[in-house]
Symmetry: C2
Subunit: 345 residues, 2 copies
């Protein structure tokens, strides 16, 4: 039997990453381009072009798209994307028409969560809570081997839970959202302030980016912390502390076995996760009378989104083939590798 | 075929309520007693006594127990109860030994959530988030027709999500827990303060309880608000506001179709739910691009816990009978009324 391959896309605010993914989550070929963020039609063109390129060498059976935005519960429409021009964009059907392949669209964090559950940090767990730390905080939930998307597809937006009444303003229009305290933007904000005001760490960060304070991001802060800078270490610990308290809140509500931390900020590793675990254990309700969730770093890195999107699309297309009247064989629900990400409705 | 009856218990910090419940969630007979809260053996005796009494007139097939405490994921052991003397109490087996009936133990809020999903406010929904407002805040989640209990059985403890950093101290050992701001204790606290300091509302509350400030509870505050007292109305609106903001956070994470508000404080009806809906719509992330959860009052009142516990026990016992080798007929998964609350692991 030929390998079952699917094409995965991760469509972010600045970049489109794509890859051909096999049944074991391996990426066999890659493509990438910048996101034409102001023009939905141009995004569609980019997806089509990459698909045709990768199809010429690989027999792909489905396309999965993880998109930075709100995706409806049927996996067809991007309702809204803060960084892209999509508003009620019927992406699934548009891509399917162009490519003549079955297409699945999901939120990018859901795609990453699925990948970590299938092939990564939560491989042997029934459930997973994923928290992706980038400029903001995204999230995903897998329950009993199924992606949990909520009633209308928008579950997992952990970054917009309020943690400080009348706190820092958030792009979403609220104040005090968790992502204002526990994401990469905190490091970027502090780094730029330090660079502008000329502290010792600030000068170090400026040197690292060639002199423009606005070029400083969390990445340089993490590098400084890894180099032993105490102030940078303290900043990461502070973000980790907010992270741990927030995870304790999620654990009060969801009681997961494992919480996987992904996204670029998780590259800081123990400098972030150590303080997060400490704050979690300090603030988890019922501590001492319960088994606590493990807090672990994601395994799959930045390709998790495209791997998860491809895998969900492959499994969903397979399930549809099996369920269709023309299918010759009905395969019984198999073990883990055969589990298919049913949409719950 | 004889009616399929089960016995439901709701074991709280002060009262034990029990009832014989039929397949449609009707309570056919009732018993109640005070909870012997310091002695686990005495609780067991009370359960046995009530069971024998109710069995003499009704052919019950199973016992369901909703307990105010942390119940493990297998439904056998009360890990910890803040108001009772249970610590790792193997309640299921103890009751089963005494009564020779199949027994299911769950958290009391989970039992109420199941009842509201089966027979109450969320009858036609695939999912449910229940928030019970009493002295504290309890909660339950039903996903795709199954109670969601989390990895270790402790999901739904919404009241202990932190909403104010370094906020009011909570009995759980943390500070700033949601239940310190959005539960009945806020009304009780304010009512007692007003009673002690002799404000107009305070005098009114004192009159209602016969002169002892410590006898004032949220119930009198709600009565005053219903009578048109502006200060009491404002207190309920404030609790409703905190409630709505917290629900917006839960909706960011879980995106439920419906949020059911139960518990004694929900008796305030629109005086509480109006402000809650307003705060929810004001602070829900992505508002304007999504379908918002409906926030509705629970339908089943204080008997929800015993009804839900009985129903879960009845369905679980039936499923076990059907799955056992001696069962003559295997019944296919049926419609809603036949759904059984599978434990997810």
């Amino acid at each position: 039997m030929p390998e079952r391959l699917a094409l995965g896309f991760d469509i972010g605010g600045t970049k489109i990453a794509a890859g051909v993914v096999d049944e074991d989550g391996r990426v066999l070929a890659r493509r990438g381009t910048e996101t034409p963020s102001t023009d939905p039609m141009a995004v569609l063109d980019a997806i089509s072009t990459i698909t045709e390129e990768l199809r010429s060498d690989h027999h792909v059976r489905a396309i999965g798209i993880g998109a930075a935005g709100f995706v409806d519960a049927t996996g067809s429409t991007v309702l809204f994307s803060p960084h892209l021009a999509w508003r009620n964009e019927p992406l699934r059907d548009a891509v399917a028409r162009r490519t003549r392949l079955p297409v699945l669209v999901d939120n990018d964090a859901n795609a990453s969560g699925w990948a970590e559950w299938r092939f990564g940090a939560a491989q042997n767990e029934p459930d997973l809570v994923l928290i992706t730390l980038g400029t903001g905080i995204g999230g995903a939930v897998v329950i009993d081997g199924q992606p949990y998307r909520g009633r209308y597809g928008l579950a997992g937006e952990f970054g917009h839970m309020q943690v400080v009444p009348d706190g820092l303003p958030c792009e979403c229009g609220n104040r005090g959202c968790w992502e204002q305290y526990a994401s990469g933007r905190v490091l970027t904000r502090r780094g730029r302030e330090a660079a502008a005001s000329g502290t010792e760490l600030g000068r170090r960060l400026l040197d690292a980016v060639g002199g423009d304070p606005e070029a400083v991001t969390g990445r340089q802060v993490t590098a400084a912390a890894e180099g032993g800078d105490e102030e940078a270490v303290a900043w990461l610990a502070d973000v980790g502390d907010w992270l741990g308290v927030g995870i304790a809140g999620l654990a009060a509500a969801l009681d997961p076995g494992v919480v996987v931390i992904g996204g670029g900020v998780s590259d800081a590793g123990e400098l972030l996760l150590g303080p997060a675990r400490e704050a979690f254990s300090r603030t988890l309700t019922g501590r001492g009378y319960r088994t606590e969730a493990r807090i672990v770093r994601a395994h799959l890195g930045p390709e998790a989104g495209l791997v998860g999107a491809a895998d969900m699309a492959r499994l969903t297309a397979r399930r549809r083939r099996q369920a269709s009247p023309g299918a010759r064989v009905r395969v019984r629900a198999a073990g883990r590798s055969g589990r298919s990400p049913r949409r719950r409705r």
